[in-house]
């Protein structure tokens, strides 16, 4: 089927099977590999994108359901004020290790701060627990969300690494 959608502010038309997930349309048909394939079952969050402003798992979103909708992906998230603050905090705190899950983490974090600008520690943990980070960068993800939200750091210094204080 032919599907029209807006991706990162740009109108796109794709030819795809109706049940082809948005994830694979983004990666294969629109040549936007920033959104990641992790589980194909909505369990890991690596494929998170925004569909009309809501965080969704693109591996569980048939392209037919995205017809006429507005999609934001990691490639476009920094054009949004909150997304920009989130990605800047991610870089400032050196959040990624392997980096594979981080597109999904950033998309989820941005969606959180859109609807809950000053989340509590419990809010952050609850919201973000749909996203797996296999390297376990969770302490820095928490800290980066707090920084992007303008909240004080939860823990001032996490320790002393070889004589250098590392927060």
């Amino acid at each position: 089927m032919s599907v029209s959608l807006t991706v990162n502010g740009r109108k796109r038309v794709v030819e795809a099977e109706a049940d082809k997930p948005l994830l694979w349309v983004l990666r294969e048909d629109l040549d936007m590999p920033g959104t990641k394939f992790g589980c194909g079952a909505g369990l890991c969050g690596a494929c998170t994108v925004h569909l009309d402003g809501e965080a969704v798992r693109s591996c569980q979103t048939p392209i037919a359901d995205a017809a006429g909708k507005t999609i934001t992906t990691i490639e476009g998230i920094a054009t949004n004020a909150i997304g920009k603050r989130v990605t800047e905090a991610w870089a400032a705190l050196d959040v990624p290790q392997c980096g594979y899950c981080q597109a999904g983490q950033i998309m989820s974090a941005t969606a959180l701060l859109k609807q809950n600008p000053k989340p509590s520690a419990e809010d952050i943990d609850g919201w973000m627990s749909g996203n797996i980070c296999r390297c376990a960068t969770y302490l820095r993800i928490r800290a980066a969300i707090r920084q992007a939200a303008g909240l004080a750091p939860e823990i001032v210094a996490a320790g002393n690494a070889g004589g250098e204080q590392v927060a």
């Binding site: 099977e17 082809k20 694979w24 294969e28 040549d31 590999p33 920033g34 959104t35 990641k36 394939f37 992790g38 589980c39 194909g40 079952a41 369990l43 890991c44 690596a46 992906t73 990691i74 490639e75 990605t87 991610w90 870089a91 050196d94 990624p96 290790q97 392997c98 980096g99 594979y100 899950c101 981080q102 597109a103 950033i106 520690a121 952050i124 943990d125 609850g126 627990s129 749909g130 996203n131 797996i132 980070c133 296999r134 390297c135 376990a136 960068t137 969770y138 302490l139 820095r140 993800i141 928490r142 939860e154 996490a158 320790g159 002393n160 690494a161 070889g162 004589g163 250098e164 590392v166």
Partner: protein, 720 residues
């Protein structure tokens, strides 16, 4: 551990990074004359000096999230005396004839490269100095360097490296072993936190990973594997698949796991991976799996119970007379421990892209050991190893899974079947879970004897695991020197093996991730029988500071004592307390002691805080990344123990299909704080990818025991 000698025999080129089509060469600086008879193309290429005085440094090892893509260039940049802002980092291709060993495994990058990479930087600096000395007509001894320039203090003259690069290329290269290296007190890059080089790209979603490989005319392949490991293709009916528009080919290949001449994997190649994946429903494969369908978790448990009750098949280590010492011991402690198979579950599924053209293969491989991948792929494709060009991609998690190269072997063979077309092979999550090379399960039967003073005088362990022909399968081994064996006067370590059809492999801190749990937990039971806590039993057992020879590396009791004392001080350890546990382990040359605090309510365990003290020698190279590695390892260890992680097998087949069947740690389970400190000692720096993981598991088990009063002798921990 140094491969300086290897590097020494080769020539170095400061100008061209391999695969340098994207690079403009500004100057070539040959650092060492080629060995006699060496082919002209045997060159090492780590450093390129650009016209704008920025310096491109090649990062040779696969980056799996361990931070090696920054760490190795830091070593070169330090001795080349650059400002970090001048440095541009590029991933090299895989080619050990040019770059030396390129393995991401065993926490080896630091000990292997600490000297050689610094020598590479120092040699380039020496040639730049020599070039400046010639130009100015002064002695090299009168020159210094700083921030990418050579300085002559007497006259105040200076020249940038860029302006000297061409002249430096004509200098006689110095002997790498004799180049002078900085005193650590002069380090300005080593020991200062440097963020991940790819972070700016990661946060924009730029293509970096193997799975993101994009090439003109790319086709995609989904895999169909015999559900039971080791089963092979008997027949294929692919008529319905081939009838689907866009399907390019159906190809049966050997992943390297079954004997030559047989196939265990079928690939559907199509113009879309989604299409290829969906087409699998229409593929009919008859598998020959009779020899492998009888293996099951229940069968292993039954077999283990039988084996462990009999004498070990193989003796691992004996000292004194353990049986006699147990009979005469004042107290005897006995316990059985066990742990399951585990999957790696890298978040980026296994994948590889390959193009076969004119009899040669070009690959984009997310591999932790590309040199092995080259050998195996070449063999299975029937081409010469040198006819493979291997580009290294960023890797979405390794954890040891990608030390094995089945995805490369498969991609190479399917590419050969569709010559001229680049093919990207992607495992889906179920393929990835079901066709891993698992951390092997194990069972241990312990007995220990204490004398009247509470000293361990006898120790026996019968370890049951998986093997063949009297030898353990890959990663199914135990060191003969497993602590405290070498210190106890009467010891008997033995092993018995049973068969499995599963592939086994190395999981982050292999063997240690299990041995720390069983040995430290058992020692906690021994400590309790002696009226002690575990840190105190460890101190008494370790005794005076000394080096004890080990199987592969010595064990230093003083370094062990150092981290034990440090973590007890930081955590305010006051002996056995409700809600706290302790663990120590030495592996991959690193000494780590950890304390875990838990609270338990309504049968739910919450880890509140973890303290870590580590000793990886005299220098932490990149402090911020060191912190990442340690905290990540601790959280991974907690996840292995408390989330029910285990790989279960029925009728030869692994039952796990997705993350719902094999839970990974999520944010809600992560402690609020993991406090890390490093104890600096006068030993060469060593690696950090692995050694922080093992001790957290016994520390957690001990903490839970301190609350429930119930010993936890099996992983995953059953909390209720």
């Amino acid at each position: 551990m140094s491969n300086a000698a290897v590097l020494n025999r080769r020539s170095f080129m400061v100008a061209s990074l391999a695969g340098g089509a994207v690079l403009t060469l500004d100057a070539t600086v040959v650092l060492a004359a080629p060995a006699k008879g060496a082919p002209a193309d045997v060159l090492n290429a780590f450093v390129r000096i650009n016209a704008d005085n920025s310096v491109t440094i090649g990062a040779k090892n696969p980056e799996i999230g361990q931070g090696v893509k920054v760490m190795l260039p830091m070593l070169i940049a330090e001795e080349l005396d650059l400002a970090w802002e001048q440095v541009k980092i590029e991933q090299t291709d895989a080619d050990e004839t040019k770059y030396g060993i390129q393995t991401a495994g065993g926490s080896t990058a630091t000990p292997r490269n600490w000297l050689p990479m610094r020598q590479v930087g120092a040699a380039a600096r020496a040639m730049l100095i020599a070039a400046a000395a010639q130009q100015w007509g002064v002695e090299t001894a009168t020159l210094t360097t700083a921030r990418g320039a050579v300085l002559h203090k007497a006259t105040g003259k200076s020249l940038t490296y860029a302006s000297l690069a061409k002249a430096a290329s004509t200098q006689t290269p110095p002997d790498l072993a004799k180049v002078s290296l900085k005193d650590p007190s002069a380090f300005s890059i080593i020991g200062k936190s440097k963020p991940g080089v790819d972070v700016p790209k990661i946060i924009k979603g730029e293509p970096l990973f193997g799975i993101d490989t994009r090439l003109p005319g790319l086709v995609h392949a989904a895999v169909v594997k015999c559900p039971a490991h080791g089963g092979t293709v008997a027949s294929i009916d692919d008529a319905a698949v081939k009838a689907i528009p866009g399907v390019v080919a159906v190809v049966a290949v050997n992943s390297g796991f079954v004997p030559a001449g047989q196939n265990d994997t079928v690939l559907i190649v199509a113009d879309s991976w989604w299409k290829a994946s969906k087409a699998r429903e229409k593929l009919v494969v008859v598998w020959d799996d009779a020899a492998v369908s009888g293996f099951s978790t229940a069968g292993y448990e039954k077999a283990a119970a039988g084996l462990v009750a009999n004498p070990p098949q193989v003796s691992l280590f004996k000292a004194g007379d353990a049986d006699a010492a147990l009979i005469s011991a004042a107290k005897v402690v006995k316990a059985d421990y066990e742990y399951p198979f585990l999957a790696h579950a890298t978040l980026e599924p296994q994948n590889c892209t390959a193009l076969f053209k004119d009899g040669k293969l070009e690959m984009w491989a997310p591999s932790q050991s590309p040199a092995n991948g080259r050998t195996e792929t070449a063999k299975l494709c029937g081409i010469a190893p040198e006819d493979l060009t291997i580009h290294l991609t960023r890797i979405g998690g390794g954890f040891g899974r990608r030390l094995l190269n089945d995805y490369m072997a498969i991609a190479g063979q399917v590419a050969k079947a569709v010559p001229g077309k680049p093919v990207k092979v992607i495992y889906d999550r179920t393929d990835d879970f079901r066709h891993d090379f698992y951390r092997p399960a194990g069972w241990h039967r312990f007995s220990a004897g204490l004398d009247a003073s509470g000293t361990i005088v006898a120790l026996k362990d019968h370890f049951v695991t998986f093997g063949k022909d009297g030898k353990g399968l890959r990663a199914a081994d135990m060191a003969a020197t497993e602590f405290p064996g070498p210190i106890v006067p009467n010891v008997d370590y033995g092993v018995s093996y049973m068969a499995t059809n599963l592939g086994t492999g190395w999981l982050r801190a292999p063997t240690s991730n299990a041995m720390a749990f069983v040995f430290q937990s058992f020692l906690d039971e021994v400590a309790e029988a002696a009226g002690l806590d575990l840190p105190e039993l460890m101190r008494r057992t370790l005794g005076q500071s000394r080096e004890i020879p080990g199987g592969r590396v010595p064990f230093h009791t003083g370094r062990a004592r150092g981290v034990i004392d440090a973590v007890c001080k930081s955590a305010g350890w006051k002996g056995r307390e409700k809600g706290r546990g302790f663990g120590f382990y030495f592996c991959h040359l690193g000494y780590f002691a950890e304390v875990v605090d838990v609270t338990i309510s309504d049968g739910v365990v919450k880890v509140d805080k973890v303290w870590v003290a580590g000793d990886v020698g005299s220098q932490v190279i990149n402090p911020i990344n060191a912190m990442h590695q340690v905290q990540g390892a601790v959280i991974e260890g907690l996840g292995q123990a408390m989330l029910g992680q285990k790989i279960v097998q029925e009728n030869g087949v692994v039952t796990a299909e997705n993350f719902g069947d094999f839970a990974l740690m999520r944010m809600e389970g992560v402690p609020r704080e993991i406090a890390v400190e490093f104890i600096k000692t006068d030993f060469p720096p060593t690696g950090l990818g692995e050694p922080a993981l093992p001790p957290v598991i016994p520390a957690l088990a001990g903490a839970i025991y301190s609350v429930t009063g119930k010993r936890h002798r099996r992983l995953p921990l059953e909390l209720i």
